[in-house]
């Protein structure tokens, strides 16, 4: 702001007004913040805000350490409050997977969980982990400048869609991002496309408790070009699968008296035995379709986390989590070795 030529009293007054506007903008910006900062106090957060640091699990991963990651997310959401900045401390993590970053960003950007707080973090200090962290797409850049000065395409991308509709073109872009890096050429992956559309549709129809389309969904893909594997993740922070299903009276009683736990209910949903909340016979096939594509070999390593259930379908590992996960999370992988036929590549 230009104050040159004005009287000193007028200059001071204008600066005070500008600082107040700036502070309000920074305060709002803090609650929408997506970036992870290295400084102990992010420069955009007002100095008077209380800072609470929470150490992240050493293996920062939902698919490998679901109990620890869900507990960390619960600690974050429990700590939120007015004029607070909650810091997820990733400095000492030894490894991570992009699904955990996705959860951190999604929850910190959902005001139902972040409340009036800013949620940020410290970057990892381990050099190798830090490289992978910055390359994951968390900062939203598709190309990164490396130490030698060259720009190279990032290996990951994290996307958010908050207009609450199903987007086929978006799914295609993510598939093309992955196939180019893993297979060296762009091509369709039918199983992945179907899965992404089903996930978006599931969010649209079931994530909100009232049945209206209210939820944002997030998706990431990270490509390990050395191992030639692409890791896809999809997340919504809605009510979760098990709160959105329509149970028969006998099943509700079984649940109430602990005769059946949620791992069994989730399996029945995935098998198509539990219908849609709409009550229509011809609906409720989305999740069984995802499982079918996995069983056909079009996806690998399908993992679903929702409410208090962790399900690794490849290893038939269904667990109850000690703490509830707020939302629905899908993970699957595509590898060159197992899926190159889908692109009709001569190996």
């Amino acid at each position: 702001m230009k104050t040159k030529g004005l009287r000193p009293k007028r200059q001071r007054s204008l600066r005070r007004i500008a600082n107040k506007h700036l502070e309000r903008r920074l305060r709002n910006r803090g609650t929408r913040n997506k970036a992870i900062w290295t400084e102990p106090r992010a420069q955009f957060i007002p100095a008077k805000w209380e800072q609470i640091e929470l150490a992240a699990p050493r293996d920062f991963s939902l698919i490998r350490e679901p109990e620890r990651l869900v507990a960390h997310l619960n600690d974050i959401t429990s700590a939120v409050g007015t004029n607070r900045v909650i810091v997820s401390d990733l400095r000492n993590i030894e490894d991570f997977s992009t699904d955990a970053l996705l959860c951190l960003i999604a929850f910190s950007n959902d005001r139902r969980f972040s409340g009036g707080s800013a949620i940020q973090g410290f970057e990892p200090t381990n050099a190798e982990v830090l490289d992978k962290f910055r390359d994951s797409g968390i900062y939203g850049r598709r190309f990164l400048r490396f130490a030698d000065g060259a720009f190279r395409p990032a290996h990951g991308t994290i996307q958010r869609v908050n207009d609450k509709i199903v987007r086929g073109n978006f799914a295609r872009e993510m598939i093309e991002f992955a196939t180019l890096r893993i297979f060296g050429q762009v091509g369709p992956l039918k199983g992945v496309y179907t899965t992404m559309i089903e996930c978006m549709n599931n969010t649209f129809n079931h994530a909100a408790a009232t049945g209206e389309a209210q939820q944002t969904w997030w998706a990431t893909v990270y490509c390990d070009t050395e191992r030639r594997v692409a890791f896809f993740n999809f997340l919504d922070t809605g009510v979760g699968i098990l709160e959105s299903i329509r149970l028969k009276y006998t099943d509700r009683l079984s649940r109430l008296f602990g005769l059946k736990d949620n791992t069994e209910f989730l399996q029945e949903v995935l098998e198509g035995k539990i219908g849609s909340r709409t009550g229509l016979d011809y609906r409720g096939n989305g999740l069984p379709q995802i499982v079918k594509r996995f069983e056909m070999g079009q996806l690998s390593r399908l993992i679903i986390v929702s409410n208090d259930v962790y399900a690794d379908l490849e290893n038939n590992d269904y667990r109850i989590l000690p703490k509830e996960f707020s939302g629905t999370f899908f993970h699957w992988e595509i590898s060159y070795d197992r899926h190159y036929q889908q692109l009709e590549i001569d190996d």
Partner: protein, 104 residues
Amino acid sequence: MISVASQFSEVPGPRLIEEGAFSGEAFLDQQLRPAFLAAESDGATLMIDLDGTQGYATSFLEQAFGGLSREFGSTRVLKVLRFKSDEEPYLVEEITGYIGGADE
């Protein structure tokens, strides 16, 4: 013949128009129903080419073909429709199931 990829979209979307672009409902309204009625009145069959797209969600297929069957009955629909799906041959059985299931 209707080629979904070239005459409708390479990125078939969700079930209903309100849920997003290139929905099964839009496909039924814009392409499938008019072509079905025209083929039926000519005493001809209607070939649906499913190849060339990025893939299909079950809700898209169910709304389009199951929806057609709910409107006109599975017998009439199966008499007219034929399918070509070289890239995903299992889709034909799936769609036939949606058409037959709409009568239940």
